[in-house]
Symmetry: C2
């Protein structure tokens, strides 16, 4: 690691000259607001916080940091779940909160160009007027820049892909402040190396995103919802495979495990039985498409022994059916007063999903630890949620976390499906990537030889 | 450029020791068969051709080449259109013709792992038994390795994406022979840098693909076909935008320009009028979905002034309707005896498609040159096809090619949508990528410091 230099009064003055005096702060309260995300990772203060409004501001800040060997970490809105935006080496935190404009809507191209600080929900509220939306939805109102830096995904990924599948072009500030464009507004491009996807998911360690052109899709005119319970996770996963194999193209295909269903029922009387339950959503342009799709899904679920099956095409009923899924986290938190939650994220090929979930069940039984599972079953992605009240319990969660990650890797999966590496998953990179990690390090060294970009993330040591 | 070393008898012996005596040849006839692809680029012989059957063979060949500073170019089956597989610096050509096995089918995961030398049509013939297929289809029976190295696309890309969207994991041999794995069989992965997409489309200049796990999709149970003619390209493109905006999710959305339609009609009495004509295909799991989709498409086309509209859900009629599109190249070649064809490839945002095509029309009128256009309109991708009979005509095509590429770039597009950079597009890289080209060069230098991997491609000088 480089020997970073302190943020001196001269650096502060230079930052003020670069981005404006109002856009630079060292106020303790503001630094604290930007010291911690929604994860369990420890807070760490930056030495100075800057609020750029243009790519040129970001470029100037980086030029300065590069010259003076000061760490730079980008901040979206703090909804991360692996500490990726925590400035663990101090230095400069670049907050994108004021760089949140829509640059241009290209309605005929199903594209929009935005500044990275815009929240995806805010963006979609505006795009709805034109019948378009940006599909990835990690739940919280994460910024587009944060979603891209982290390759966030969410419940719509089974149909529409993750963030990386919904971006066409970005402007990126390199470590020395150089601004480059990667990708193209042409949806097809076979020209040179795919730098776009190298920067997407690199968590601000190779460059900082200053603008992005996103793929949009038409707002579906009709949606249906299905909730189906099964005797076992195996049966539920068989249904997942059958639904996907049928060509029905679900827009969401979620699993809530029996323990979680029970907790939802016990605490808020949610109408679920203590069984693994699938939540599905289908999008269509025509009522008849939607109806024939639901008939097919019903047939599949019943054939595979569904205990219960509820379906609707009515928007109000749909919201009610999905209530338990959409509010599962809040209900869980409310039902465990005095507890914090550690939420872990792994993903495996769908065929290995029953084995992974079976392993977590086995660990729970063996240790008596409380845990709930909720997952994007259509993608083989699962989140295990552990309540903890003290340091001992927290450490037990960490042990479980490690075991589950190892299991996911053994099953041909990944240590993180959508939360990113950040601080928590860095220790698993060598095991997951083997010799490819050396290539990642070499690229990091090439693009950020001084190591100023978000140090402490992805790589250990 | 490095000072490459000759392929000496000692090198030949070492290659024979590494991959077997039968798998190494310097026979002129075989070298000639591997010296030229389907493009207009000049042939060039390798000094030696090797036929590995395992990744370890490829690794050994690279280790040797790396040590002795010998260029290495990978060869699939020679269907490339930009000379990417031509060994312009001689050295070793690695043919994957005998490394063409299916390693494993993961039916429940909708995945297959293959060796790179398998033809995608051959692969799909086998997968059809399980109701699955690998969607990208560049037309010719290209190898999967070649398709990935080149990010090939084709007519199904509007729904299913290009090659890069249909691969999950690869094994890659680096310049020094090290084998690494990139990507994951988990469909979601947010772990470390996306090296998978860095190698996809890098045309063998960063590493050589030795195995790939592909995404598969269910064979659609039902398909429909639509052929609709319009007064102008503008009107046709309006229909393209409207169809995509309607959420109908076409599986193909192709354009044949008026000149090409006329040529098809004049030479083989194909039932088309002299107007820009859209060819569409839709996939569905249910008859009612297909029918309601066709009704909607008809409404859109008629509203936008279609001159003619034909649609069918009958498989035999569908093949007949699409005959002109599927055989357009052969018919064109047959109708121009004594001519060769230069086929160029650019892509733009769909909103710029009419401007691009209008520009080509303008060039044709101004110069009197003969050219036909056929394109993946749903993706904004167009191929301009120029017949030429002699060097003078060829050079006129090259001038046109340059002007059209410049126009595509000016319209926010790319110099190549699906044919790759190879030899022909290298000169446009600086203009298309600006400062990002320096990053590409830096990555090339990092991963292939001796410059042995497919030299002469992508980068000039």
């Amino acid at each position: 690691m480089s020997a970073y230099q302190p943020v001196t009064p001269e650096i502060i003055s230079a930052l003020q000259a670069a981005v404006g005096a109002d856009a630079v702060t060292t106020a303790q309260a503001e630094l604290e607001l930007h010291s911690k995300d929604q994860s369990h990772h420890h807070a760490h203060l930056a030495d100075v916080l800057v609020y750029p409004t243009t790519a040129e501001h970001v470029s100037s800040v980086l030029r300065l940091a590069h010259e003076h060997l000061i760490p730079v970490t980008a901040w979206g809105v703090g909804t991360g779940l692996e500490g990726s935006a925590i400035p663990v080496y101090g230095g400069i935190s670049i907050s994108f909160e004021k760089m949140n404009q829509i640059v241009q809507v290209y309605a005929d191209d199903f594209q929009v160009t935005v500044q990275p600080g815009i929240g995806h929900k805010d963006l979609n509220a505006i795009l709805a007027r034109q019948g378009l939306f940006f599909a990835p939805d990690p739940g919280a109102n994460a910024t587009v820049g944060g979603m891209l830096a982290n390759n966030a995904a969410g419940i719509r990924t089974v149909k529409y892909g993750a963030s990386k599948d919904n971006v066409l072009k970005m402007q990126v500030a390199l470590a020395d402040g150089t601004l480059i464009n990667v990708g193209s507004r042409s949806v097809k491009q076979s020209s040179g190396y795919d730098l776009l996807h190298l920067f997407v998911g690199s968590e601000g360690t190779l460059g900082i995103i200053t603008e992005a052109t996103l793929k949009l899709v038409p707002v579906p005119s009709l949606m249906s919802a299905v909730v189906a319970a099964f005797e076992s996770v195996d049966a539920a996963v068989e249904a997942v495979v059958a639904v996907r194999g049928s060509g029905l193209d679900p827009a969401a295909l979620e699993l809530i495990d029996a323990a979680h269903c029970r907790m939802l029922r016990m605490t808020e009387n949610v109408d679920l039985s203590d069984h693994p339950t699938l939540f599905m959503e289908f999008h269509a342009a025509h009522e008849s498409t939607l109806r024939s799709g639901l008939d097919a899904v019903k047939e599949i679920c019943e054939e595979l022994g569904a205990i219960s099956f509820r379906a609707t095409t009515d928007p109000a009923e749909r919201r009610q059916l999905w209530h338990a899924r959409h509010h599962s986290y809040e209900i869980m938190v409310r039902s465990h007063p005095g507890y914090q939650f550690f939420i872990m994220d792994v993903a495996v090929p769908i065929s290995a999903y029953p084995a992974l979930i079976g392993y977590v069940e086995h660990l729970k039984q063996e240790t008596g630890i409380v845990a709930y599972m909720i997952g994007h079953a259509g993608d083989g992605n699962i989140h295990v949620e552990f309540p903890f009240a003290d340091q001992d319990e927290y450490e037990r969660c960490m042990v479980m976390n490690g075991l589950i990650v190892e299991k996911a890797l053994e099953l041909g999966g990944t240590s993180t499906g959508e939360h990113g590496v950040g601080l928590g998953k860095a220790r698993y990179m060598a095991k997951e990537h083997g010799g490819a990690l050396d290539v990642m390090r070499a690229i990091k060294q090439t693009l950020d030889p001084k190591g100023i970009l978000n140090p402490g993330k992805i790589f250990i040591g």
